[in-house]
C-alpha cells in the first residue's frame, strides 16, 4: 500500500513533466487561432525543448556558479511543488511536507535565484529584469498568500489536501470571501506566470520584457531547464487554483478507476483554463510597468478584503 502511494506520487510528477509543455502548446495554439495565425501545433514546445537540450551551452566569461546552478534549482523547486499539489490524488506521501505557505515560498526560491542569475552577467537587461521581477513579486506574493489564506481560513488548514477534503465534505459554500480571493488569485496567477497584461512571454522587446530579460543570457540545456520549469509553473498555478477553488474530480482514494477519472477531469479543466487564459490574453493589452502597481495593488486589496470579509461576516 505504501509503495502504491509512492507510485501515484511518481505518476503525478511524470504527468507534470509530460503534460506541462502540452498545456503551453495548447495555449499557444489557441492564441494563434484567435489572432488568425497558423499554429505550430500542440507539440511544438516539446520540439523546442529537445532542440535546446541538444545544443551547446554558451556561457558568458564572467558567469559564476550561481548562473549555472540556477536552472537546476528552478527545475528542482518546480518538481517538488508538483509533488505536493494534489492533481490526481489527495493521498500523496509527501503532501504533508509542504503546505500552501511552503508552496508559495518554493516559487519564491526559484524567483530569488533567477533574479540573482539575471544580475550575474552584469548586463543592463539582466538587472532590469531582476529589478522588475522582484518589484512585481513583492506585491504579487503577499496577495497570493492572502488569497489562499482566505480559503484555508474557511477550511481551518493550510494543507492543500486538507483544504480539498473540507471542500468535498461540503462545508464550504460559495462565500463572499471566497469570491474575492478567487478573483484576486486569477489576477495574481497572471502576474506570477508572466502572462499579459503583466508580462508578455512571446516578446523580447527590451523595454517591456521582465522574465525574459532575466534569462536572456541562458542557452542550451540551461535554457531548456528554465523554459521547462516555466511551463511547469504555469501548469502548477492552474493546478493550485483548481485545488483551492474547484477541486472536483481529484481522487480521494487511490484506486485505479478514480485516478483515471481524475486524470480525465484534469485534462478537461486544463482545456477550459487554457481557453479562458487565451480570452484574457487576447482581450487585454500589456500594461506599462508603472501601471502594474494598480493592477497588483488591487489584487492585494481584493485578497485582503476577502480575508477581512471572512473575519467580519462569518
Amino acid at each position: 500500500m505504501k509503495l502504491y502511494r509512492f507510485i501515484i506520487e511518481f505518476l503525478q510528477i511524470a504527468i507534470l513533466l509530460g503534460v506541462a509543455p502540452a498545456f503551453t502548446g495548447w495555449v499557444r495554439m489557441l492564441k494563434c487561432w484567435s489572432q488568425g495565425r497558423t499554429s505550430a501545433g500542440i507539440f511544438q514546445p516539446y520540439r523546442d525543448l529537445l532542440k535546446l537540450f541538444s545544443k551547446d551551452v554558451l556561457l558568458a566569461d564572467n558567469a559564476s556558479w550561481i548562473f549555472r546552478f540556477t536552472p537546476y534549482l528552478v527545475f528542482g523547486t518546480a518538481v517538488l511543488a508538483g509533488g505536493v499539489i494534489p492533481m490526481l490524488s489527495l493521498d500523496l506521501p509527501i503532501a504533508s511536507t509542504a503546505d500552501v505557505i511552503v508552496l508559495v515560498a518554493l516559487f519564491a526560491i526559484a524567483r530569488f535565484f533567477t533574479a540573482l542569475a539575471g544580475m550575474d552577467i552584469g548586463t543592463a537587461f539582466g538587472g532590469m529584469g531582476s529589478s522588475r521581477e522582484m518589484t512585481i513579486a513583492s506585491l504579487a506574493e503577499p496577495a497570493m498568500l492572502m488569497a489562499i489564506f482566505t480559503v484555508s481560513l474557511a477550511s481551518k488548514s493550510t494543507s492543500l489536501s486538507q483544504m480539498v477534503h473540507v471542500i468535498y465534505s461540503g462545508q464550504i459554500v460559495l462565500r463572499p470571501s471566497i469570491a474575492f480571493s478567487l478573483f484576486a488569485f486569477v489576477l495574481i496567477a497572471l502576474a506570477e506566470t508572466g502572462r499579459i497584461p503583466v508580462d508578455n512571454p512571446a516578446t523580447h522587446l527590451e523595454l517591456t520584457m521582465i522574465h525574459e530579460a532575466m534569462i536572456l543570457e541562458y542557452s542550451g540545456r540551461h535554457l531548456a531547464l528554465i523554459e521547462w520549469a516555466g511551463m511547469m509553473k504555469l501548469f502548477l498555478f492552474v493546478m493550485l487554483g483548481v485545488a483551492a477553488f474547484a477541486p472536483w474530480g481529484i481522487a480521494e482514494s487511490g484506486d485505479l478507476v478514480t485516478i483515471s477519472a481524475a486524470f480525465i477531469f484534469m485534462i478537461l479543466k486544463l482545456v477550459i483554463v487554457g481557453i479562458v487564459l487565451v480570452m484574457i490574453e487576447t482581450g487585454l493589452a500589456k500594461m506599462r510597468i508603472f501601471r502594474l502597481t494598480e493592477f497588483l495593488g488591487s489584487a492585494f486589496l481584493l485578497a485582503t478584503l476577502g480575508m477581512l470579509s471572512y473575519f467580519i461576516l462569518e
Binding site: D61, F69, A137, E141, P142
Partner: protein, 681 residues
C-alpha cells in the same frame, strides 16, 4: 551544588570581567592581545552556551545572591529557561563572532591600537549576559548601562570620522532616554510591590508576587515598552540604529544587531509575561501594531540604502518588528485564554529572535569581510566579488536566503509559525481585532516579499556582475578565522531550518512557564521530521524533506544532463554588436530599487534631480547628465527634530537665568529659600 547553569554562566561573565583587568598588561603586544582576548571570549561564550542550553533543556531555575552592591541591597541573579534561552542566543553568536574577530581585528594591526576595542568588547559581552542574568531592578539597570556604555565606546572606536562621533552621540542619548523610562517602570512596580517603606521591592521576585492595579500596571508597561523599544530600534524610535550600527567595527555591528537588540526583546517578555503577568489584550495590540510598522517600514528603508551595513541595520529594524509581531500576538491570545495559540505565537517570536541572531550575525560578518577586503561600504562601488571572495559570497548568500524567509533555511520556519498563529486565530468579539488580524497577516506577507527583493539587491549588486568602482583594489578572501565564524553561523542557519522540531521541543518549556502550555505536545506525535505545531491536519512542514527533495532533483538532473561531457563554451558577453559594454552600464543599487521607490515613495522624504550639462556642440546633445538622489527617513523630521529643537529652546530659556554676576545668583538662592520656607510651612 557547584555545577549548575547559573554557576557556569556567572563564571563565564567573571572570566570576561577579570580578563579586562589583564588587558592593559598586554598593551604593547597587540597581536598576542588579539589572539588571547578573542580566544578567551569564545571560551567564555562556550561556557555561556553550555549553561544556557542546560537551563532551558532541564527546565532549571537557579538563583544566586551576591552580597555586593549597595549596603543591604545585594545583587540577585537568576537563570530560568527564558533567561537561559536568551543567554544561549547571545553566547552562540558571540562565540561565532569572537572566532571571526581573531581574523577581522588583525586588519587594524599597524593602523591603530586595539586595546580599547578589546576591553570594551569583553565588557560588552559580559554586560549583555548580565542583563539577562539580573533578577533585581538595580543589577538589571547597572548591567544595562554597562552594555550601553561599552557599545557606545565600540561605536566610537574609529572616532576620527565625524559620522562615528555623531552616531555614537545620538546612540548614547537615545539609550539613556530609554534607560530612564525603564528605571521609572521598575520604580512603579517596585513601589507597588512592597510600598515605599521597604526596600525589598526592587527584586523581581517581589514584583512577580505583587498584583498591580490595571492603571499602574499599564503605566509600568508603557514605560518599559518605550524604553525597550528605544533600545530595540522599533520605529519610530529607530533613527539611531542605522547610524550607530554601521559605523562600529563589523564584528561589533554583528553583535549589536544580532544580539544586543534581543536583550530589549528579553526585557519586554520579562516585564510583561513574568513580572506583571496579568494584562489586558490591548497591550498585545500595541506591541503588534508597532511590530507591523517596524517590519514594513524597516524593510522599505533597507531597500533604499546604498551602504551595505546600513541596509543590514535597517533590516534589523524589520526583523525586530517580526519578533514583536509574534510576541504581540501571544500577548493578545493570552488574556483571551487561548494558551495554545499564545504559546505558538510566543515560540514563533522567540524562534525568530534566535534566527535573526544567526543570519544577521552572518550577514554583518560577511559585510565585514567585504569591508576588510575592499575598504568599501557603498554598494554602488562594488560588484563581481563572487569571483575574488568565493567563500564570503557563498556564506553571505546563505544569510540572504535565510533572511528572505526561503525554505529550507531558518527564517522561513519562524515566518511560517507566525502565519500559523495568524491563521488559527479565532474570531474575537472585538471588531478592531477582526480588522487587525487580516491586515497583520497581509503586512507580514508583504514584509517577507520585500525582504527577498532587498536581499536580491544586496547580494546581486555587491557580489555579482562586474566591479563598479573606478579601479578594483587588491581584493583578498577572508582568512580562516573569519571564515570559520561565518561557516558556523551559516550551519546554524541551515540546522535551525531543517531540524526545527528539536529546537522547538527544547525551548517549549519557556512557553509552558510563561503562558501555561506547550506546543510540542502535538508535534511529537507525527515524528521529528515534520513540524506540526497544532494538529497534523491543519498544517505541517518538513524543512528536511524540502531540502533533500530539492537536492535530490538538482543532483539527479545534473547527472542526467552531464552523461556526455563537455557542451559548455565560455564566450564574451553578448553586447548587441556595439562592443562598448562597460561596467557602468550595469544595473546599480539605486536603479534596482527604483520601481519600489516609485511605488512606496510617499513613505520617504525623496529629493530627486536630473541635471543636463549642455556643454557640447549643441543644447540638444548634452555631454553629461547628473543624477542626484537623496532618500531620507521621514521620522527624523517628524519626531526627532521637533524634540531636539524644543530641548534647545528650553535650554536657551533656562540659559537666560545665567547672568555671570554673583549678585544675581545670590538673589536666586534667596528667592528659592523664601519659596521653600513658604511652601513647607
Amino acid at each position: 551544588m557547584i555545577l549548575s547553569p547559573i554557576n557556569i554562566i556567572s563564571s563565564s561573565v567573571l572570566l570576561l570581567l577579570l580578563f579586562v583587568l589583564v588587558v592593559p598588561l598586554l598593551k604593547s603586544r597587540q597581536r598576542l592581545l588579539i589572539n588571547t582576548s578573542f580566544m578567551l571570549s569564545s571560551l567564555a561564550s562556550l561556557l555561556g552556551i553550555i549553561g544556557g542550553v542546560w537551563a532551558v533543556g532541564g527546565g532549571i531555575t537557579n538563583k544566586l545572591i551576591l552580597p555586593i552592591g549597595l549596603p543591604d541591597l545585594p545583587f540577585h541573579l537568576r537563570v530560568d529557561p527564558l533567561a537561559g534561552f536568551f543567554i544561549t542566543v547571545i553566547c552562540l553568536l558571540s562565540f561565532f563572532v569572537s572566532l571571526y574577530s581573531i581574523g577581522y581585528i588583525k586588519g587594524y594591526l599597524g593602523r591603530r591600537p586595539v586595546t580599547s576595542l578589546v576591553i570594551f568588547y569583553c565588557l560588552f559581552l559580559a554586560g549583555m549576559v548580565m542583563v539577562v542574568l539580573a533578577d533585581d531592578a538595580l543589577f538589571f539597570l547597572i548591567s544595562w548601562e554597562v552594555m550601553a556604555a561599552a557599545s557606545y565606546f565600540l561605536v566610537m572606536f574609529e572616532d576620527e570620522r565625524i559620522e562615528n562621533r555623531r552616531a555614537a552621540f545620538l546612540y548614547i542619548i537615545v539609550a539613556h532616554v530609554g534607560a530612564i523610562a525603564i528605571l521609572l517602570s521598575f520604580g512603579i512596580m517596585a513601589g507597588l510591590a512592597t510600598g515605599f517603606e521597604s526596600f525589598n521591592g526592587y527584586t523581581f521576585d517581589a514584583m512577580r508576587q505583587a498584583e498591580f492595579p490595571l492603571k499602574w500596571a499599564t503605566a509600568a508597561f508603557l514605560l518599559a515598552f518605550f524604553g525597550f523599544a528605544a533600545k530595540a530600534g522599533v520605529i519610530p524610535l529607530h533613527v539611531w540604529l542605522p547610524e550607530a550600527h554601521p559605523v562600529a567595527p563589523s564584528n561589533v555591528s554583528a553583535l549589536m544587531s544580532g544580539v544586543m537588540l534581543k536583550t530589549a526583546i528579553y526585557g519586554i517578555v520579562r516585564v510583561t509575561f513574568d513580572l506583571i503577568g496579568v494584562f489586558p489584550w490591548w497591550w498585545g495590540a500595541i506591541v503588534l501594531i508597532f511590530g507591523l510598522i517596524s517590519a514594513v517600514m524597516g524593510v522599505l528603508y533597507a531597500l533604499m540604502q546604498n551602504d551595505l551595513k546600513k541596509l543590514l541595520a535597517y533590516s534589523s529594524v524589520e526583523n525586530i518588528g517580526i519578533i514583536l509581531i509574534g510576541i504581540g500576538l501571544s500577548m493578545i491570545f493570552k488574556p483571551f485564554n487561548i494558551p495554545l495559540l499564545s504559546a505558538l505565537a510566543l515560540i514563533a517570536g522567540l524562534y525568530h529572535a534566535m534566527n535573526h541572531a544567526m543570519f544577521k550575525g552572518l550577514l554583518f560578518m560577511g559585510a565585514g569581510s567585504v569591508l576588510h577586503a575592499t575598504n568599501e561600504r557603498n554598494m554602488e562601488e562594488m560588484g563581481g566579488l563572487i569571483h575574488r571572495m568565493p567563500w564570503t559570497a557563498a556564506l553571505f548568500l546563505i544569510g540572504c536566503v535565510s533572511i528572505s524567509a526561503l525554505p529550507p533555511f531558518n527564517g522561513f520556519v519562524s515566518e511560517w509559525l507566525t502565519f500559523q498563529a495568524f491563521l488559527l486565530s479565532p474570531a474575537m468579539p472585538s471588531p478592531f481585532f477582526k480588522l487587525l488580524i487580516p491586515l497583520g497577516a497581509a503586512l507580514v506577507a508583504l514584509t517577507g516579499a520585500l525582504a527577498a527583493a532587498c536581499f536580491v539587491r544586496a547580494f546581486g549588486v555587491t557580489f555579482l556582475g562586474h566591479w563598479r568602482g573606478a579601479h578594483m583594489p587588491r581584493v583578498h578572501e577572508a582568512d580562516w578565522f573569519m571564515r570559520s565564524g561565518m561557516i558556523l553561523a551559516a550551519l546554524s542557519c541551515l540546522l535551525l531550518g531543517i531540524l526545527p522540531t528539536f529546537f522547538i521541543d527544547w525551548m517549549d518549556i519557556i512557553a509552558q512557564q510563561l503562558v501555561g502550555t506547550k506546543i510540542g505536545a502535538s508535534s511529537g506525535v507525527y515524528g521529528w521530521l515534520w513540524l506540526t505545531p497544532v494538529a497534523r491536519e491543519s498544517a505541517s512542514y518538513s524543512g528536511m524533506i524540502v531540502f533533500l527533495g530539492i537536492l535530490l532533483v538538482v543532483v539527479a538532473v545534473y547527472f542526467i544532463l552531464h552523461v556526455k561531457p563537455g557542451g559548455i563554451r565560455r564566450v564574451p558577453i553578448w553586447d548587441c554588436g556595439f562592443g562598448k559594454l562597460d561596467q557602468r552600464m550595469q544595473y546599480s543599487a539605486t536603479s534596482f530599487s527604483m520601481p519600489i521607490r516609485r511605488i512606496f515613495g510617499f513613505l520617504f522624504n525623496i529629493r530627486e534631480q536630473v541635471k543636463l550639462n549642455p556643454r557640447g556642440v549643441h543644447k540638444a546633445f548634452p555631454k553629461r547628465l547628473n543624477y542626484y538622489l537623496r532618500v531620507r527617513d521621514r521620522f527624523w523630521n517628524w519626531l526627532f527634530k521637533p524634540v531636539i529643537e524644543f530641548s534647545f529652546w528650553v535650554s536657551r530659556k533656562v540659559g537666560l537665568l545665567q547672568q555671570g554676576r554673583i549678585q544675581a545668583y545670590l538673589i536666586y538662592s534667596f528667592i528659592t529659600i523664601i519659596v521653600l520656607l513658604a511652601l513647607s510651612r
